[in-house]
């Protein structure tokens, strides 16, 4: 009798624990062999709203920036401005989707909206519509409200383009708001400079008056680590972007030459090359400069480390232990050393954000009188298959991956002048980013 009453709450408790399946679920069917073209997207000119005299200039900057961001994303087939309908729809009620999906534009997606600059505030409404889906075409609807000036017009365009790329590019963030840090000697001394990913807005970051090389920005965009020539020789130093001044990095200033710092993907460790023991070896320290430990022990220079940003447990670096510099990878404790290149002169490795590829500069036919130049190569680490991305265009060096894994920035030297170029990771769309002075050693920010 007692058992029955004790059983009832137990059973009811068990019943409440049963998973309740809501019927709200859908299904789709898709597959390969159905065409894998780039997405054909049209970027309409945004409709200007209001009579403010600032609006046309800001709208021009916005339109141009949005167009170039979508063009350089690598995943779109952007409809040319001469093929789109000559309308500027400013809201979902004003757009005629049939016009956009018909010839000659044949757009699958259209980005449009309205822009107004009133009372010093820039207000932008942007939409992304699917032209083949008349019933519910909206993919994105965004609203931005910022101070009205050229910089913010470009920034808002970058943000909107990033949203579109994130949505249609399969979950990888766009790079429109990322920065590139590089060395420029246009002010007389080699200083660290910063610019937007499309080459706009170049400005100096350090003003040390000495030689500063190989800048690397930290993953949280707060500090730049770089090698600087000081009184005691080459030292790895840190500049804080938040504080606007140099900060201490005690591990980087011991005797010998300390060069080529590299941040781990979580920002906790810095690897660099130091010759404090006489022979350049790879050392790893915490971001604050403590816990310094040596990782390589072989005779022969070991320089230019870079971390695997996905696992933070592997390092690729350049070693001259067999003679000419070759690319090697190892675990971060120095074990499991593997050689990647089989000859030639290979330098400046950079690990892709998804952890699968390396890009580096390689001269496969090194030697006096031998043809072949210094070109950017791309290698799949697991299979060691490589692809040559540049050819017969000067001497290319120092590649750096973009955080979306689709773009590479590098330096190209023609006739003594070095400039920074960017390209897609398949070698197409090579564009020059800098034009004045000598600019080299680029580094793409992490976000």
């Amino acid at each position: 009798m007692n058992t029955r009453f004790r059983l009832f709450p137990l059973v009811s408790l068990l019943l409440t624990c049963l998973p309740i399946c809501l019927p709200a679920q859908d299904w789709v069917h898709t597959g390969t062999n159905l065409g894998n073209d780039r997405i054909r997207i049209a970027a309409a000119d945004f409709k200007p709203v209001g009579q403010d005299p600032q609006t046309p200039a800001l709208k021009a900057a916005f339109d141009a920036t949005l167009y170039s961001d979508l063009n350089s994303a690598g995943i779109f087939d952007l409809v040319s401005k001469s093929l789109i309908p000559q309308t500027t729809p400013g809201s979902p009620q004003e757009i005629n989707l049939a016009q956009w999906s018909a010839a000659p534009s044949n757009a699958a997606m259209v980005a449009f909206g309205a822009l107004s600059a009133t009372n010093g505030r820039l207000v932008v409404y942007g939409w992304l519509f699917d032209t083949r889906n008349a019933a519910s075409p909206q993919v994105l609807g965004k609203q931005y409200n910022e101070i009205a000036n050229q910089d913010m017009a470009r920034t808002v365009a970058h943000r909107f383009a990033d949203e579109i790329i994130l949505r249609l590019g399969g979950g990888i963030n766009g790079i429109a708001e990322t920065k590139i840090f590089f060395v420029s000697s246009r002010s007389g001394t080699k200083e660290i400079w910063e610019m937007d990913y499309d080459g706009q807005n170049e400005h100096a970051v350090t003003h040390l008056g000495t030689i500063s090389l190989s800048p690397r920005i930290s993953p949280d965009n707060s500090r730049i680590a770089f090698a600087s020539l000081g009184r005691e020789g080459w030292a790895v130093r840190m500049y804080s972007l938040e504080l606007g001044r140099m900060v201490n990095f005690p591990a980087g200033t011991a005797g010998g030459s300390n060069q080529s710092p590299a941040w781990s993907g979580d920002g906790s460790k810095v690897a660099f090359s130091s010759s404090r023991s006489g022979d350049p070896e790879i050392y790893i320290a915490d971001a604050s400069g403590g816990n310094l430990r040596r990782v390589t022990t072989f005779r022969g220079p070991d320089v230019a480390p870079c971390w695997n940003p996905r696992t933070n447990a592997q390092i690729a670096w350049v070693s001259g232990r067999t003679g000419l510099p070759q690319i090697y990878t190892m675990d971060q404790d120095g074990a499991n050393i593997q050689r990647m290149t089989d000859g030639g002169y290979a330098i400046s490795p950079s690990w892709s954000p998804n952890g699968q590829f390396l890009t580096f500069s390689w001269n496969r036919k090194y030697g006096p009188g031998a043809p072949g130049g210094q070109d950017i190569y791309f290698m799949d680490i697991a299979s060691k298959r490589w692809l040559q991305l540049t050819h017969e265009s000067g001497s290319n060096d120092y590649p750096s991956w973009a955080p979306d894994g689709r773009h590479i920035v590098f330096e190209r030297s023609i006739g003594g002048h070095t400039q920074i170029w960017s390209m897609l990771a398949d070698g197409t769309e090579q564009h020059q980013l800098t034009h004045t002075g000598n600019n080299f050693m680029p580094n793409w920010s992490w976000k």
């Binding site: 597959g31 062999n33 699917d130 519910s136 909206q138 399969g170 692809l387 017969e392 398949d426």
Partner: protein, 266 residues
Amino acid sequence: MMDLLNDGERLERELTPEPIAAPAMGSLLLHGALAACLFAYAIIGGLFHHNNWGNPGSGGAIQVNLVSSALPLPSDQPPNQNVLATETPSKAPAEPSPKAKQAVDETAIPIATKQKPQPPQKQTASKTSQHQPQPKQDNRAQFGEQSGSSIPRSTMAKGSTNGPVTVANGDFGSRFGWYVEVIKRKVDQNWFRAEVDPRTPRGASTQIYFRVSRQGVPSNFKVNVSSGSPTLDRSCLRATQRVDTFGGLPAGSNDLWLDVTYDCTY
């Protein structure tokens, strides 16, 4: 020395036997109970079915993911062995081979022509041979350039169907066709055609089922319809498993999850 203890006490201590029986019995009982517990644990533990070895599912073991070497870029060209990337990939064919020399017509009558006086032969010193043999310059991309696709980007063949994605079934496909495109593109990028046995007949097709959660994370992978080629089935299944996330389900849909059936065609 011996006056520490009285003689009598010492004798009593020596003569009184140590209590053995009770502790021995207790010890026996304790060891017996331990043995019984072990025995009972073994029996009862065996009654419950544990999945430790060799069953489907991760089972708590380390999950090893095959490296999927695919660039997240769309490919306009089929995969090839070309290692040199080019700025201008084109579908134009390569340069035609040089024409064969025309055969001399034996029956033609030769026409007499004025013989021009031969210019005196210039004596030229023979060139000294170069010390460095010039290796063949293979940096130059050929005419009708193929893009360098030795690293696969999306290793699917452009088949006969070149039309738009047909995802008609289900309301979701018509409302959010772009999301279905994302799913298709991501699984495509992760599909390794090289994993499939080359003896698999062209056109063989595997259907994989998986479920996409609200956050876009796929799970519950299984082969719905096998193609008859186990390597094709396995490689298609792995392609779907390699994807971390498709991005969250579109905001306009109220679905908690999305059931996806995906066809891989060799």
